[in-house]
């Protein structure tokens, strides 16, 4: 455990000294400011909306869930960017630059090294995503007067989704150069989101093919399933026409996976970790 703490501390200090956290903080403040303005305007503009009587639609619920759903998408994206940049060159990239060898020859063990780097990056990303989502939730609640049904579960699942991206990026860093890995993980991330959207469209139009794409994407890339489930639990208690209206939009979270998604994501994380440790143990370092 002592070695894990030393290497994780080294990774965190590197990010701190290279001003990674400062840049993330500044950009996040800018994003949150824009989000606050956006939320204010959205609630202002929809306040006067009067739905037909028989629909019983509360515009505050639809507006709140939609803007917070949008914020969740942005948070997932920002968390993914952070996850990728913290890990894209951890193994092959650092080895090619000659940074890794002096550490690997120490009596620490490659698995400890990998685990430490994972814990450092996962901890930072999960904390960042959790904090950002909490601020977005509070902003939405205070400005618009709408609070999600289960904000804690939604935030936790969103953070878990980014932790999966950290693991994928670390695994990729064993095989690919830093640039190639960054591109690959971004493309996998984008592919996962597109598959999720296709599945959502499939559910809306009743297409089995599109629904199966979404199901397989959930297994192969569970960060997408976690994100969808996080969207779902945001309005888990919302029913009736409001629910229907939300599910028509891209941030409606029409597909809730429940505990099964979380359990599969946990198992997936373990599998990725084991694959990474096995691959790193066999890898020759230049």
């Amino acid at each position: 455990m002592r070695d894990v703490a030393v290497i994780a501390g080294y990774a965190l200090r590197e990010s701190l000294r290279r001003k990674v956290f400062l840049i993330v903080l500044l950009l996040s403040v800018a994003f949150l400011t824009l989000y606050g303005i956006g939320v204010w305007r959205a609630f202002e503009d929809t306040a006067g909306f009067v739905p037909p009587d028989q629909l019983g639609l509360d515009s505050t619920v639809v507006t709140g869930a939609t803007v917070l759903g949008l914020a969740m998408f942005a948070t997932l994206f920002l968390g993914t960017v952070l996850a990728i940049f913290l890990t894209l060159g951890v193994v092959r990239g650092d080895a090619e630059r000659g940074l890794l060898q002096p550490l690997v020859v120490r009596p620490v063990g490659r698995s400890t090294l990998l685990l430490s780097r994972f814990l450092a990056a996962a901890g930072v990303c999960a904390l960042y995503v959790g904090l950002l989502f909490a601020i977005e939730t509070v902003t939405t609640g205070l400005i618009g007067g709408w609070w999600p049904d289960n904000a804690v579960a939604a935030g936790a699942e969103l953070a878990f989704a980014v932790v999966i991206v950290v693991a994928l990026s670390l695994l990729g860093s064993i095989f690919l150069t830093a640039t190639a890995n960054g591109i690959a993980v971004f493309m996998v991330f984008g592919g996962g989101l597109v598959a999720g959207l296709l599945a959502q469209i499939g559910r809306a139009i009743g297409s089995d093919t599109l629904r199966s794409i979404g199901r397989w994407a959930s297994y192969v890339l569970p960060f997408e399933a976690l994100y969808q489930d996080a969207l779902h639990v945001l309005t888990a208690g919302t029913t009736g026409f409001e629910r229907f209206a939300l599910e028509l939009g891209p941030f409606g979270g029409s597909s809730g996976g429940g505990v099964g998604v979380v359990l599969w994501a946990a198992a997936y994380l373990v599998l990725i970790g084991l694959a990474g440790i096995a691959a790193f143990a066999r890898r020759d370092l230049p």
Binding site: D3, R17, G98, L99, P102, V105, P107, V108, D284, L285
Partner: protein
């Protein structure tokens, strides 16, 4: 007592390329062994296998009796890579602290002070590595390799970025390390340097060990050159032991002898002969 480094039948293939082909080598405690060979001969591969950076495809390597790459083996060695880089945002002091923690050294500030003094970097203790010259970084690399006073040191081209003064400093340092009982495997292209400091030399070519021995043992007598009043005379094939008799004979023949020089092949001659 097992040897500091024991290499037996070591092989390494990269696809169809045989980088190492059955190399046997031993390094005793307190010995300074120079590893020579042309580019691509397999020297760095051998060092990397010994460090656990690269996996062999045949044979064994042991560090102080422990299999190379095992935690016990890694605890016993210090390594300076040929192409290395330290995080530029760290200071020399911070880098040594990090490696002390990873190596499990309890030397603390006293060890860091001693090591920085040893490589002449006391003044640069708090300087960021990115502000150091390549030579300073190489000296810092040596200090890093010496953390925890490991019994075995594997140094891959440790003087490649150093100026003549820096090289001299490293030579003195290597002699000091030998006197303290460290076993050193020095991988270098600089034959003169190897000849000056190493107890033994091993030459690798095309993945095979082609020559091994003390520099003096590897050289061969090339003749005796005698400067006389009638000019310089060369006695080919004669050795140092033949010199008195040659001089006596020349004097007996009435020649005036002004100087005698025993000629032997240099390490460079031996090297070129075995690798070509």
């Amino acid at each position: 007592m097992p040897p500091a480094l024991a290499v037996s039948g070591l092989g390494k293939r990269y696809g169809s390329v045989r980088a190492l082909d059955g190399v046997d080598l031993e390094l005793a405690e307190g010995e300074l062994l120079g590893l020579l060979g042309p580019n691509g001969a397999g020297k760095s591969t051998l060092v990397k296998i010994a460090c656990g950076l690269v996996r062999s495809t045949g044979g064994t390597v042991e560090i102080c009796g422990a299999p190379a790459g095992s935690p016990t083996a890694r605890r016993s060695l210090g390594y300076l890579a040929e192409l290395f880089r330290f995080p530029g945002w760290m200071s020399a002091e911070e880098l040594l602290v990090l490696h002390q923690r990873l190596a499990g050294s309890d030397g603390g500030a006293a060890e860091r002070t001693e090591l920085l003094a040893l490589v002449d970097l006391t003044e640069a203790r708090d300087r960021r590595i990115e502000q150091m010259s390549k030579g300073m970084q190489q000296r810092l690399g040596l200090a890093q390799a010496l953390i925890g006073a490991p019994p075995v040191l594997l140094l891959d081209e440790p003087t490649s970025a150093l100026d003549p003064a820096g090289r001299r400093m490293v030579r003195v340092l290597l002699e000091e390390l030998r006197s303290r009982g460290h076993a050193v495997l020095l991988n270098s292209h600089l034959l003169s340097e190897i000849e000056l400091v190493c107890d033994r030399v091993a030459i690798i070519s095309r993945g095979r060990l082609v020559a091994e021995g003390a520099p003096a043992d590897l050289s061969r007598a090339r003749g005796v050159e005698v400067e006389t009043a009638s000019g310089v005379r060369l006695f080919e094939g004669a050795s140092r032991d033949d010199a008195p008799a040659i001089v006596a004979r020349l004097v007996g023949e009435g020649e005036q002898v002004y100087g005698v020089r025993v000629l032997a092949t240099t390490l460079e001659d031996v090297y070129l002969e075995v690798v070509e």
